[in-house]
Symmetry: C2
Subunit: 352 residues, 2 copies
């Protein structure tokens, strides 16, 4: 399995992004959706900003207050045993490390543009920023799918009411239209198929049920991209494997002669995130044809292993040129990297 | 708040239902959806059946195997400490009492018919029975909404993959058509509004997110009842109240001059289930106008307090005659009861 990492990875780091908020620092610029518009490659970056804390004894959770359209800061004393601060991403109640109460940063989307696909300039203003009380903890992990001449953006809406999948659209990456929450909590990793199949739109999504069931990948269909039904589980966790703990669709499935190729992320019990591949029937995407046994990309480089939350490769988009899948992927919940995978190698893995 | 319970409650008990499965016992006939068809009142009963265990040391979890369309029994030794058997409804992993691995009974739907609304005869055959692998743990808690001349049935589809909301329809309560899973896990208590508002169908539903958020009531909209979007939280838990732990819509909202009247169930930390009321704006059902402070029905009678899972009143349907709301409700997860509530009394509670 050939993986050609771009030698100058990472291609975007937090240092490349000026903070949008006064007295905040950019801690991550990662998990970007990908689009090609004219002669530009566009990355729809998730930028995470954290308030500076003048005293290391305290941290602050930023919360977007929709009513007065401004950020509020909730202050936490690290010696307060009510909360557990060990996961740098979240603030949990002590004894409840699998759930969270607040996030330590606020995420929103910035556009980065490039002529060569490697050297990017980040827009100075946010492209999408929390707007409603359903986004008060931020918006995360955009995936972009071009359908006819419109780019559809699926993303996580995060709030105290849970995490749902939102839909927005743009034609120019300057203005954006929101279409509401398309999948109710808890759900993440919503990706759209790039064309209709038998007159229907399809999506992959990843519910996280509480009472029973696992964080696995489901499929749904729609007539208009805004309303979804016919939900069915599609593929699940594999015990004792690299994808044993949680999985989610990476980005819009790639049309190949053999079927729909979906690159997905999976994590094990140690939260080590890799990417794998699964092949779906072209005419009936509810049918799984094959799945790679091992990962096709693993965190091995220092920029993949070390960071805000290490040991993560998380692909949210790609550009396909012939046999090459130029995948853009978030690394260590910190930066963006790029690598080229070979379609034929992935197909060989799928049929081995 | 006047509540006139029918003096001969309960109106249907497990003894009124012959088991569908050989060597099973009916442990519950409860949480019935309600419809009026011609001169008949129809209850769409949830019937729960449990395998007889010849040896009290063992219990069996019934699982519908979709492939060969028959029940499989999974045997559990009560002395096996891998599992926790304290909740009579479920089998959980020890140390994980808030989640479950298996159910101790299989639920499906039977029709009960009555000319007077109180004396019911239960059909001898199931009306709906698990059909797919997404219903392998059973189907539960039907709600019936008449829209034009069709009765739409929303219900819980339960399987190892989680609990979702299914949709089916009938015009005669003899034959039924399924429309798939309309809301992905974890979700329950889906109810439809009885008419379109500004050309759109609306539903209430109750997601149960895992990472953050609570089991609260959401609203969604649809153009065809099968595909749903525009999800938004509608009303939530109230700390230190009778509805502090979980809530869910009861049944289809009742159109009143003051707005949409929704009777909902709520439970406290002791899993004591009561019914309350909330009023939604007629033209914009996303707007809550008022909510009763206390419950409008509480478990007080012996048949409500004692049973398979006691201290539960759980209304899934009603027939409105002038000021009277004749509500049918499950009691103690065992039987069906009936009471008449006064619309004007509920309205007075809502405005007090």
């Amino acid at each position: 399995m050939r993986v050609e990492r771009y030698p100058h990875n990472p291609i975007i780091t937090p240092a490349d992004v000026t903070p949008h908020h006064a007295d905040f620092e950019v801690i991550a610029a990662f998990n970007a959706g990908v689009a090609v518009l004219g002669d530009e490659t566009i990355l729809l970056l998730r930028v995470a900003e954290r308030p500076h804390s003048p005293n290391p004894q305290f941290i602050y959770a930023p919360i977007f207050a929709a009513k007065d359209r401004q950020l509020q800061m909730k202050k936490f004393d690290l010696s307060d045993v009510t909360y557990d601060y060990r996961d740098p991403r979240v603030i949990s109640l002590s004894g409840h490390k699998d759930t969270f109460e607040f996030l330590t940063s606020l995420s929103y989307f910035r556009v980065a543009r490039s002529k060569d696909g490697y050297n990017f300039t980040v827009d100075t203003e946010p492209f999408m920023y929390p707007e409603s009380e359903f986004e008060s903890f931020g918006i995360e992990d955009a995936r972009v799918t071009k359908i006819e001449n419109t780019f559809y953006i699926t993303y996580s809406m995060v709030s105290p009411m849970g995490i749902g999948v939102g839909l927005a659209s743009t034609t120019d990456f300057r203005t954006v239209q929101r279409h509401g929450m398309v999948l109710a909590p808890e759900n993440k990793d919503g990706v759209l198929f790039p064309e209709t199949i038998d007159g229907k739109y399809y999506a992959l999504h990843r519910p996280v049920p509480k009472s029973n069931g696992q964080p696995e990948v489901w499929i749904a269909e729609s007539l208009d991209l805004i309303h979804w039904g016919q939900h069915q589980p599609l593929f699940g966790l594999r015990p004792n494997s690299w994808d044993s703990d949680r999985i989610g669709a990476g980005f819009s499935p790639i049309a190949t002669p053999a079927g729909w190729l979906e690159l997905y992320h999976g994590a094990d019990k140690n939260s080590r995130y890799c990417m794998g591949a699964i092949l779906l029937d072209k005419a009936n995407p509810r049918k799984v044809l094959s799945r790679t046994k091992g990962p096709i990309l693993e965190p091995t480089q220092s920029y993949e292993v070390n960071g805000f939350f290490g040991n993560v490769v998380f692909g949210c988009g790609a550009v396909v040129h012939g046999d090459g899948v130029q995948m853009y992927y978030g690394v260590a919940d910190t930066s963006m990297a790029c690598c080229t995978l070979s379609l034929s190698d992935i197909m060989a893995e799928l049929h081995s």
